[in-house]
């Protein structure tokens, strides 16, 4: 199954934009499996350096994870001040405390302009971005979280650090 739409301007990209290997994750900030994937991805990014381009898209399962959408919106609001990845990290590192109050604390810790953040946090545009990501996931065949796409194709294999790293490194050759 193929990634629809392909990675574009609206995406949050980490690493080398021009790398030959692109890894896209569809994730939910309150999903424990995504929490487990978070340090794995970090380690892989460190090992692969500029050989890897990493993209994160939102796929909140809101009915089973009541804080997943608000957490996702907080990352999108932080993105408007250039701090998407900082917020992404903090949220994954505090998966069990994602109430609105805590999310505001994290934003403050990152030194965001809080007046602007509060406004963006409640803005429909931030929610729309999260919903767009979710819909793109559904259309791409995402059936749970985390789901990974490597160079545009859905990766169905084991995502333990060893396996995923091996598959990604193989693609650089």
């Amino acid at each position: 199954m193929a990634l629809k739409p392909a990675v574009g301007e609206n995406d949050h990209v980490q690493g080398n934009e021009d790398a030959s290997v692109e890894l896209v994750e569809y994730g939910d900030y309150e999903c424990p499996h995504c929490g487990r994937a978070y340090p794995i991805i970090k380690n892989i990014q460190e090992k692969m350096g500029d050989k890897l381009k990493f993209v994160f898209r939102n796929f909140p399962l809101a009915e089973i994870h009541p804080n997943a959408i608000t957490a996702a919106i907080a990352t999108e609001a932080a993105a408007l001040q250039g701090k998407f990845w900082e917020m992404h990290d903090i949220v994954f590192e505090h998966q069990k405390s994602l109430s609105v109050e805590r999310l505001l604390d994290y934003a403050a810790e990152l030194g965001l302009d809080m007046h602007r953040f509060s406004k963006d946090f409640s803005d429909k545009q931030s929610l729309a971005k999260v919903e767009e990501d979710f819909e793109s996931g559904i259309r791409s065949g995402v059936n749970g979280t985390p789901s990974f796409f490597i160079n545009g194709n859905k990766y169905e294999g084991d995502w333990s650090e060893e396996m995923l790293l091996e598959v990604l490194v193989e693609k650089t050759k």
């Binding site: 009915e63 559904i138 065949g141 059936n143 749970g144 979280t145």
Partner: protein
Amino acid sequence: MLAVGTRAPEFTLHSTPDQKVSLSELKGKKVILAFYPADWSPVCGDQMALYNETLKLFHKHNAEVVGISVDGKWCHAAFRENRKLHFSLLADFEPKGAVSRMYEAYDETKGSSLRALYVLDEDGVIRWNYLSPTGVNPGADGILDALEELDNAKIKQ
């Protein structure tokens, strides 16, 4: 699986402990029949949880989804409540698997429904079907593609 173009056979099953629903009551809407093996699969974002999150997209196409398994009505009620599902789960319980058999979506050896999807048009005719390996959540992309195609075909008429 029943072929595309076939009229979907009528059935009546429990949707809650004290209510029954018949397929014919859903006429006028597109219907997604999602046969699945069992409630309580141990993962986040299992097939039913995923459809729960996708309801808004289904509704855009005037479509309703129903889940069907051989679990009893009380089991379905508990599962729906636990997962906060906003659509019906039908109990193909007595006689066990009768509707699943009728839709050629029954695994005789395991005694449970297969993971089979049907999309019916507003007149109750099967327009798309898909049989997934039992262990694989088929997602919702195939369903949405089928619904979109039905809507596009209508526009062209």
